[in-house]
Symmetry: C2
DNA sequence: GTTTAAATTAAACGTTTGTTTAACTTTGCT
DNA sequence: AGCAAAGTTAAACAAACGTTTAATTTAAAC
């Protein structure tokens, strides 16, 4: 169902980048066709419409997401806090590796009208909450985590902080004196700083320890 | 410079709402003109262009922002943590009262190309950081706040969490059993929940206490 | 009351939009 | 080789886009 050929994958890849840079409505199918080096008609031919192309971009990335979720559910040897740490790091890595897609998600989740894409985002968030909540409640029952934890708000903070990093990157890079780092180095530095921040934050809230 | 007449204010108000709902490129000047009940040509006549109208929407809201900042700088009788609490509550209120504008900001801050609007957002964030940092460092020097505080990341968490609430509202309202509340009641409930969450979080990070 | 500027309008401007068409080429199968 | 399906193309499609024009009305000043 999702076995795309090279040309289709090229279109999806270019669309993802352009949608991230200029928004869905800010990107024309001609832009996409030109940068992907295909005829305009091929986009309708393969995907049906511009909207369906956006949906394809989403489904393409979200399949990888689902695998990422299930990996953690299986592992039952880790301590609750380690599981949370793992979740945080996986989220951070996902964001840093798929910045364009996450950028589109940040935009599209703001749309008020219902759409297939909005439903996919909603579904993804519900799954994440369904994964995080049992980890916390189980640890609470075991007396490891505190009882006064607002899991939904904690999720919101996790999502929000990580998503907010995308537009904050330029500010961080120019405001602090890390202009000498190249892109890869800055990415690593950002990963570590974000990870430390969020882990410290979650540990404090969940365990009242530092 | 910013004394708009009723018709201009109506256009700005409608534009803010539609830009928030459907995005800048997703909204046509004809949509705005129709809902504001003015002729299409009036938008160019008053604001010059669609881009300039977006800029006007921003400047209109950001003047109120600046006042909000200065109020807190003046007050020097509050304890550092109380100042932070006040900052948090003001941010939350601002977001809840200007959801449409904050929604536009969330979208526009993702644009990669430089633009007057992007510069305004950048400037606003810098001002916020410039306000929060001295509060923290002064409290650190006085031995009230911990030394290992990442202020930029804390700002990112504050912005991110509050902004993330906008798209998360529907999920919160349907997922939990607060469907019986009306809009105003739900807004108050949300304000309290957000406030408690962020204050607990900031207190923990800044003071290592609960 | 006349004059001058501002406000307002319907219509038209030239582009650009997403999508489709119809002709043509390539591919794979028998 | 012959045929059918899939792939590919340039061109055209109507609709919508942001903006401008030119004519008309309203308002203010003298």
């Amino acid at each position: 169902m999702e076995d795309y050929n090279d040309k289709q994958l090229s279109i999806i890849s270019v669309a993802e980048r352009l949608f991230a840079e200029k928004g869905f409505h800010g990107t024309s199918v001609r832009d996409i066709a030109q940068e992907a080096d295909v005829n305009i008609a091929m986009i309708s031919y393969y995907f049906g419409s511009k909207d369906k192309l956006l949906e394809a971009v989403f489904r393409h990335r979200m399949n990888a997401s689902r695998i990422f979720i299930n990996e953690l559910v299986e592992n039952n040897t880790m301590a609750p806090l380690e599981k949370i740490y793992s979740l945080i790091d996986r989220f951070i890595n996902k964001m840093l590796n798929e910045q364009n897609f996450q950028c589109i998600m940040s935009r599209e989740q703001l749309n008020k009208e219902q759409s297939p894409v909005r439903d996919l985002i909603w579904q993804l968030k519900s799954e994440m909450l369904g994964l995080m909540r049992p980890i916390v409640t189980n640890a609470q029952d075991a007396g490891i985590f505190m009882m006064d934890v607002d899991v939904e708000m904690l999720m919101t903070t996790l999502f929000g902080t990580i998503h907010q990093i995308i537009p904050a990157q330029h500010l961080l890079r120019t405001n602090t004196d890390y202009a000498h780092l190249n892109d890869q180095e800055f990415k690593e530095y950002l990963r570590l700083r974000l990870s430390n921040h969020l882990k410290k934050l979650f540990k404090a809230i969940l365990t009242h320890e530092f």
